[in-house]
């Protein structure tokens, strides 16, 4: 059975990003995929809670796609979490509307893969640093999938960027297919 996928994309300075522009282009117009550019929707960071909640209910898989700023998401995605994942909607008393949905983090990092090890300069693994996202999903009764991560994006050649874009498209297509 086909799943409906909602990509919530958060990048405050897309005009400076090659990789995220390519990823974004790769998933445009895919069957069963809704692509939502949060910084374009909410340039003043004022999130429309009702609209966002409706979108969540209409989809089975939620993708948080963003650069991994300061071991977390850009401010707008955090704001989105703060106001959209309401008590009584996403968690707490009667907050079961998202139960059973699946969540994917699709991230780009400036640092290389080796930096995200106990011995690297970032000292923690990606799975450790992503604990808040995993726990957020868990609290809402959602399954947190194996994240899609592209490291060292500044060093990528144009071919590598296209390769990653296709890989991303394949991963999203698999989610639509229900895998």
């Amino acid at each position: 059975m086909a799943s409906r996928v909602l990509i919530l994309f958060a990048h405050p300075a897309l005009h400076r990003s090659r990789i995220n522009a390519a990823l974004m282009e790769a998933v445009q117009g895919m069957e069963g995929v809704t692509f939502r550019d949060l910084y374009e929707e909410y340039p003043t960071l004022h999130v429309d809670v009702e609209t966002e909640q409706e979108l969540l209910l209409e989809h089975d898989v939620i993708v948080w796609q963003h650069p991994f700023y300061w071991y977390s998401a850009p401010a707008l995605l955090k704001e989105w979490q703060d106001v959209v994942l309401e008590y009584g909607f996403a968690y707490g008393e009667g907050g079961t509307r998202l139960v059973g949905k699946r969540v994917l983090s699709a991230l780009t990092t400036g640092g290389p893969e080796e930096a995200y090890q106990k011995t690297g300069y970032n000292r923690f693994t990606m799975r450790e640093l992503l604990a808040p996202f995993a726990q957020t999903s868990f609290l809402c009764g959602m399954e947190y999938l194996e994240p899609f991560i592209i490291h060292g994006v500044r060093g990528l050649t144009a071919e590598q960027v296209q390769e990653w874009a296709q890989r991303y498209r394949a991963r999203i297509a698999a989610l639509v297919a229900g895998d």
Binding site: A13, H15, P67, Y69
Partner: protein, 626 residues
């Protein structure tokens, strides 16, 4: 203009100027000041004034205006809620006081119709003195104050049947009925006297209904039309015309003029012109009321008091004593609480201006001989002079005892305009501010001097009032004393600064937030210490600029960030330039040009090393060794 008139005017004004501020500063209140001024210039002391009665007739119009203003502050819904106290407490007061005084009269050997006339007469209290004194203390809206007001209102109504019953009492007493002469002040001499009783009643009711309908449905168009002429004094003229017209009509049908204008005031309390009306009538009311108090003081026959000190003293003590007792018992009986009951009793324990009318009419009907009415007149006048003193005793000695017992002051029952925000200017700019505040549950009192605007907003249920916010009296009427914020959103630079100056001078506790219509206006506001201002075109111009940036391909968030950066610099530059704006013009111009250049270069530089660029540098390096 006769020299005599000018001399009289000088005497009255001078007496007021000398006595009232002194009395007020001494804590005696303005009413006592006026009364004492009257006594001093009156025939008994300096004898500087001529016919006091004539002045008194003119001055009684002040009482009529006072009731109009009181009416303006009372909504019909509130009046309806007061119907219990008015009919209950009011009628009980008149009946029991009249009974008590009549009983004393009988004991003194008066015939019963005479005793009853005296009883009914002395049941009246002084609306002018009581309301003025209570308003000065700010207790008119408390339970005690409302009880006083209810009783006074009932007396105003009761005087009509009393005037009707006097000729009948005179007939029983066997006196020669010289019908009806002395009532011109409060108008029993009705133009309808020749009609059968049912027609008289019908005309009377018809007149009241006409007043209500005309004021409610028709007057707003008159106000609007006159206001549109932009002649401020024409509005005052219309306001006075309304008061005088209603008073005249009430005279015509034999009703109390004060009652009629009170009704007109209540009807207009719902109108958007209420504050302006109040502000326009207020000075006339104050002047005439002061004149009225002076006339009462001047009318005090000290010669008579000196001739029969024992008689007058016992009359005053009897009058005040009976009224005080009856009022105190009524207050307790109607569960006002001890503190409020004492205020109620102290405030109303005097004879009133109606007493002079009723005594005069009783004399003309042959009911009261001069040896009865003259000492009574003196006693009434003295009791009126005593009232402010009684209230001071109440303030200083009685109420402090209750202040300890009652933990909280009684809540204001009269709906006053206690909105925390006053908004001047409800046009294209102000209405957005006002609607935002209202949408978030803040009470806003709105003033605007465009009658069409006010009219239109009224149709959509928004409370806005017609008036010029550069008038201190209007601001006071709109509740500036109790408000916290003053939002100045008028579109005229000079007017705006005039208002700001006025508010800073008269109501320094108000925090001012202002609309600046251009840079120069902003500089002037800064000079006055108003730092909460917004240039009215900046916000929307930046919004549109953001849209243009997006149309040129900027992503939405980037456009917003660029705009905000620009706004910061723009606001900073206005504040910097303000320091030079008032100084040397040449410096200012070169500074302005320099700032424009600064703006350009700084903006380009900001974009070049925009902090967004550094976001890309994130996560490219580990911690530096230290």
């Amino acid at each position: 203009m006769s020299q005599d008139f000018l001399f009289q005017a000088v005497i009255y004004l001078l007496a007021a100027v000398v006595a009232v501020p002194v009395a007020k500063r001494a804590g005696l209140g303005s009413v006592l000041g006026y009364l004492l001024a009257g006594v001093v210039i009156g025939p008994s002391v300096l004898n500087l004034v001529g016919q006091v009665e004539d002045v008194q007739h003119v001055a009684e119009f002040g009482v009529v205006m006072m009731l109009f203003v009181v009416g303006l502050e009372l909504r019909p819904s509130l009046l309806w809620r007061l119907r219990g106290p008015i009919l209950g407490t009011g009628s009980a007061q008149v009946v029991f006081t009249a009974a008590g005084v009549t009983g004393l009269g009988l004991l003194c050997g008066l015939a019963w119709p005479v005793a009853l006339t005296v009883g009914l007469t002395l049941a009246m209290s002084s609306t002018a003195i009581v309301i003025q004194s209570l308003a000065e203390r700010g207790v008119l809206n408390t339970r005690g104050g409302q009880a006083c007001f209810s009783v006074l209102l009932f007396q105003d109504i009761a005087v009509i049947p009393i005037l009707a019953v006097l000729p009948w009492l005179a007939e029983i007493n066997g006196g020669s009925a010289g019908h009806g002469g002395g009532a011109e002040a409060h108008g029993h001499e009705s133009a309808l006297a020749h009609l059968p009783p049912w027609a008289q009643t019908l005309s009377t009711i018809g007149a009241v209904v006409a007043v209500v309908i005309v004021t409610h449905y028709f007057l707003r168009y008159v106000f609007r039309y006159v206001a549109a002429s932009k002649l401020r004094e024409m509005f005052t003229v219309v306001a006075l015309l309304v008061v005088a017209g209603v008073a005249w009509l009430m005279h015509l049908v034999g009703l109390s003029a004060a009652l009629g204008t009170f009704i007109a005031g209540v009807v207009l309390a719902e109108s958007e012109y209420r504050h302006q009306l109040e502000a326009d009538v207020e000075p006339f009311k104050g002047l005439l009321l002061g004149l009225f108090f002076i006339a009462v003081g001047a009318g005090l026959n000290l010669g008579l008091v000196a001739a029969q000190p024992g008689l007058i003293a016992s009359l005053v003590i009897g009058l005040v004593g009976v009224k005080f007792l009856v009022l105190l018992l009524l207050g307790l009986g109607f569960r006002l609480g001890a503190g409020s009951s004492l205020l109620f009793a102290c405030a109303l324990a005097q004879g009133g201006e109606f007493c002079f009318v009723l005594l005069g009419m009783g004399g003309q009907l042959g009911l009261l001989t001069p040896d009865v009415s003259a000492p009574l007149s003196a006693a009434v006048a003295l009791s009126m002079t005593l009232t402010p003193l009684l209230l001071i005793v109440n303030d200083r000695l009685i109420q402090p005892r209750f202040a300890k017992l009652t933990p909280k002051r009684e809540a204001d029952a009269v709906e006053s305009h206690d909105n925390p925000i006053i908004l001047a200017g409800f046009g294209r700019f102000g209405h957005i501010v006002g609607r935002l505040l209202q949408a978030n549950g803040f009470g806003v009192t709105v003033l605007d001097n465009d009658p069409d605007q006010v009219e239109m907003l009224g149709r959509f249920g928004l409370r806005s009032f017609y008036g010029d916010a550069s008038r201190a009296d209007l601001l006071a009427a709109a509740g500036a004393e109790k408000a916290r914020l003053f939002v100045c959103a008028v579109d005229d630079e000079a007017k705006s600064l005039e208002i700001v100056d006025l508010v800073q001078h008269e109501f320094p506790h108000l925090r001012i937030l202002a609309r600046a219509v251009n840079r120069n206006h902003a500089y002037e506001l800064i000079k006055r210490g108003v730092s909460d201002f917004r240039r009215d075109t900046l916000g929307s111009a930046l919004d549109l600029g953001t849209d243009v940036l997006r149309a040129m391909g900027f992503r939405a968030h980037r456009a917003v960030r660029a705009t905000e950066l620009f706004r910061c610099y723009e606001e900073e530059s206005v504040r910097e330039l303000a320091e030079h704006a008032s100084g040397d013009q040449a410096t200012y111009i070169s500074m302005a040009r320099q700032h424009l250049e600064n703006l350009e270069s700084v903006f380009r530089q900001d974009l070049k090393r925009h902090h967004l660029d550094t976001e890309d540098a994130w996560d490219t390096a580990g911690p530096k060794e230290t």
